[in-house]
Symmetry: C2
Subunit: 317 residues, 2 copies
Amino acid sequence: MGGDNAPTATLAAARTIQASGRADLLLVGPESTVAGQGFDYVAATEVVAMDDKPGRIMREKPDSSMRIAVQQVLDGKAGGAVSAGNTGALMAIGLFTLGRLPGIDRPALGGVFPTREGRTLLIDAGANADVKPAYLQQFAIMGSVYMERIFGVPNPRVGLLNVGHEKGKGNQVTQEAYGLIKASGLNFAGNIEGKDVPEGAVDVVVCDGFTGNVIAKLSEGLAGVLGGWIREEIRKERLAPIGALLLKPAFDRVRKRLAYADYGGCAPLFGLNGLVVKAHGRADANALEYAIGLAAQAVEQDLVGRLNEALAGIAER
Amino acid sequence: MGGDNAPTATLAAARTIQASGRADLLLVGPESTVAGQGFDYVAATEVVAMDDKPGRIMREKPDSSMRIAVQQVLDGKAGGAVSAGNTGALMAIGLFTLGRLPGIDRPALGGVFPTREGRTLLIDAGANADVKPAYLQQFAIMGSVYMERIFGVPNPRVGLLNVGHEKGKGNQVTQEAYGLIKASGLNFAGNIEGKDVPEGAVDVVVCDGFTGNVIAKLSEGLAGVLGGWIREEIRKERLAPIGALLLKPAFDRVRKRLAYADYGGCAPLFGLNGLVVKAHGRADANALEYAIGLAAQAVEQDLVGRLNEALAGIAER
């Protein structure tokens, strides 16, 4: 029931996935929506709204489709839960229902962003506005496992987002986190700067959730403004419409590369003791299909188990 | 002597400014460079390098052209100093030589960035990786005075960069800063998000120097990657080169709008008790001319005096 396009897009995505045999689906939602659609389902009497307060969601809507979906993971009836709804509420429900992995202080959001020639994971993309150095170490470990298992990147390069490349740069948190991440046995590329993110200098960008949130939203805004400028300047030229026509296929491909960001907004909630995948609130049927496929892949790869192992390895050091 | 293009570009910019009568110039640098150029000058035996450590610059190079230029401001022989050199060293020299304005805990860097239809000042653009709420209030006041006096924006809208629009969002620092800025008598637009920066939702974006540094460098990187994608996709089309030719004037104008960022990297060091303008290290003769013109305008507008008044007004509240 979550996201701007539910339940139409959700049902369409579910049908495509079911038909492809990539996953067995269990729909959770109001009986009137999920019954008779040709899927197994669990009925819920309540739905989480975008303006519901995360801190109160467990108490105020105990029978929400979101909570019941996550409960299926705890009960072993589903390998993972997927939602495009209220991110804060999903995190709160995930934390309350599944708890944290051992060694995790605070779960994080992830975002996969397109880079010049590939993609990079931003972690934390917005869950924790205030962090401690140890959280950043935990984000680094989880990000590395994720890029290796889900994106097949061997020995992912991990960078600590900072204001300069030299060791010793940064605020108090990043200065301390540097040594912790370096001691984690990861492929640590050291400090990276803002421009290194789109350039694709690393596979995992580690940062606090305040900076991560700003980066994600700024990137979206910048791409929109730049696109607007190009359209505006093209309209001013007499012959430009012909040029624009000739360039249309090229522009379409650029747009497609950018649109990856919408898919990239889709990632597991990192650090929960169970798989919960958050799809973008604006996800259409294709993006939701991607989200469900991602969850299926994470189950096959035993992502949560792998994260657990990697975190245990650090605890032993 | 500062910046990638000194002294050739610096001398060229100085000549243009001198010829236009917009400012009387006093060159500071090695005698062999500044003598016989048709300007008043002060000779210096040392030059600050990009890798000089800001914390040691006063002791290690007491006779640097940078220090002597700032000294002219203290001595009343210049209304302001302009440099495209080592930013940290310039800040250290400015702080040691001129001191802070009353009411300022930490000076800040500013950066003026292009937005969809105008421009916005980012403050702090990178001086203070760790801040306290009161610093953000001081940045807000200085940013508002600057945009009003130098860019002629009546009653500038001031936004606090945050992870959501609602009051109460953010990290501990922004949560506390919200009330302080609101109580400052500015035209406070409340919290803004990353995407509001390029959209131009406000005239002044207040943030800590860590986030400001990341934003400035990320924007530069993103624009470069997007431009690279467009070029790459155009090369793939058989007829696209013709289209690109037809669109060249439009693309050139987009590039020019973006290039404003290079000029925008130019701003005073905010909070010093005297005028010091930092030009971008990559500044060419045109950008240096802009920097000197900006300094002249700041002198005419008595920017430092206005900042002082505005800060005193807050202290009285």
